[in-house]
Symmetry: none
Subunit: 206 residues, 4 copies
């Protein structure tokens, strides 16, 4: 009726994707605003401009929506990370790119960032069962890069790669969380440099 499209076939396929997409986007917005448990399915449907029941044509449950948000974003996240990194030679540059991407991505979509930083952690069960795999994969990407750097003598070897990876991740993560909770609206990506400055060189003088 009001849906612009190139052809009937494409239109239909696109429409389905669009609606699923719209629900996901609405859910991110609603979850970010009120928290997962305080959000009603009706809120999401209302935000998406569809009927309550329609949500269930695309998702089995409210919980599945949360998982889908995570799966999709984490997939893109890691995928893009790997792609961008491949082209780079130096582990140092790779870590820099990862950090930049991390903050760019989340800094570009505050709602998504909120859901990731705050809501997705609101459940130990969720953290353990679902996000574990995704987070682990991301952490492993960082760890491997650091390990490579250690092997070529770029990074010190008296620190376990996995520990260093957690430190970098934790630092970046905290930047995002602080940015979300901050009342000021500063750009997030530049913080990557600051973090790396300390991560690479330490805070001690000389």
């Amino acid at each position: 009726m009001s849906r612009p499209r190139g052809s009937a076939g494409q239109g239909t396929r696109a429409a389905v994707g669009d609606k699923r997409e719209a629900i996901l986007r609405s859910a991110i917005k609603v979850f970010a605003g009120k928290g997962y448990f305080n959000s009603k399915v009706a809120d999401i449907a209302g935000e998406a401009g569809i009927a309550d029941g329609t949500v269930y044509l695309y998702f089995k449950s409210k919980e599945e929506i949360l998982h889908s948000i995570f799966d999709r974003a984490m997939g893109e996240f890691i995928g893009e990370g790997r792609r961008e990194i491949e082209a780079l030679a130096s582990p140092t540059e790779k870590l820099r790119r990862i950090a930049e991407l991390h903050l760019q991505r989340l800094g570009a979509d505050r709602d998504l960032a909120i859901v990731f930083q705050i809501e997705l952690r609101g459940s130990t069960k969720f953290m353990q069962e679902f996000s574990a795999a995704g987070f682990a994969e991301y952490l492993e990407l960082i760890r491997k890069t650091i390990e490579d750097g250690q092997e070529v003598g770029l990074f010190r070897q008296d620190v376990k790669a996995i520990v260093a990876a957690k430190i970098l991740y934790g630092a970046l993560d905290e930047m995002v969380t602080n940015w979300i909770l901050s009342k000021k609206d500063y750009p997030l990506p530049p913080m990557a440099d600051e973090v790396l400055k300390v991560f690479f060189g330490g805070v001690s003088s000389k």
Copy 2:
């Protein structure tokens, strides 16, 4: 009731504290196990061995219990931090003590750690309205220490103290989160040294 006391007045006052304490402890255990939203007030009462209604003689609502957990722990946390730090002269030693205390405290009470790392973040609203003050105070403690270090020439000055503070906090925080979600049961406090090694000296060689 079951504890003989020196005087009725004291006994009553102490008993009150005991019961409030018991409820808080039970709540930490229950929240850690099932998450705040999935925990019923009846679960907490059951765990504490009291009637459901009794909970409301000590707390106004379920939410207030969560806040009380945070307030009490954060108060002790910061108080102990300040006290231990005062005695130390070097900013480096101060940061080391803070890091050690951070991981010792949370590493000593896994349930409390879970509530702090996972559950307390399950609500943007909570994070913003309540924890902000506490977290900010804690972060400020770290920031000031770093600033002191910069002033005496211990720490580089091309990194903003507040940013460095967030990095340290974020790194420690991630250690705790990983420890909680880990299936392995390793001791958390020793990670303080690892974090500080990187925080002070950086990962780069030389």
Copy 3:
């Protein structure tokens, strides 16, 4: 569609009948399996191999499907009953034929029997408003036959014909219900003889 016909017009009309028929058959199967209230219109459509919406081209509502099942079956039931009975002279033989037909019909289609014995009764409203007429007509057929038998001296007159009719009907009905609920798969029609033996002669010795 799959049945070649002499003319398009006839084909269409027949197809309509076929589809209506298919829906009815599917509904009997589905209702028998899960009960009327637990059956979804989508189940019936799926069983019939058509789209959900198509059901509404043939029936106004789910309830109408139930009524149609009853109406059609009861109509055939009574029609066949009358036809078969007309040819017989003796009231005794007539009752025997009715009983045999009753059990043959339902014994030949377990699903239909289930819908008749179990599902159709799941609603007082239905029983009163709809089935009343059909049942009443069937019961009247039996009553009249018994009355005829009383007039010609075959049956005792100290029992009201309508009461005797209900007794016969109730006994047959119970045979069907037991057969449906039974785990054993015995043939139902032979029970007609047993029922009639008691109905005609009583259980008392001599």
Copy 4:
């Protein structure tokens, strides 16, 4: 507050029983009036004069209420049947007493009769899983009595006792169903004699 009672202890215990009882009575009334599936838990609560949630303090689910109605009534039914029968010597008299009790019981509580005759059968699943045991026990009581009669020569032996039992039960059952659906308000118990007249002596003359 408004509850009359002899003593605190008794009052409390009686009150609990009373409320459970009240819910059961209300449910019978509501189920009888609108059918199980069309009845809302809120209807039952409203009829009982309690809050919706209170229902769940006494029953786990709406379905459990239905089962409880059946269990309680069937228990009393069979219990009373056995008790009354024991005192009687003749199988003939026993069957007469059973028939009378059957119609008296259900004839005294039209709503309960409706639930038993109509609603309890609205689900094949229910009939098979739950009522089976109760009905089977009742049918067995009748069968055994008939068998006893056959052994002492009172009843003919060319009819299987179980079949005769089903016939008697079916006939009585039909009396109840007809009475429920009838617009006229005649007394049900007298029908016992009519049924037995036919059951013992048959409808044939002489």
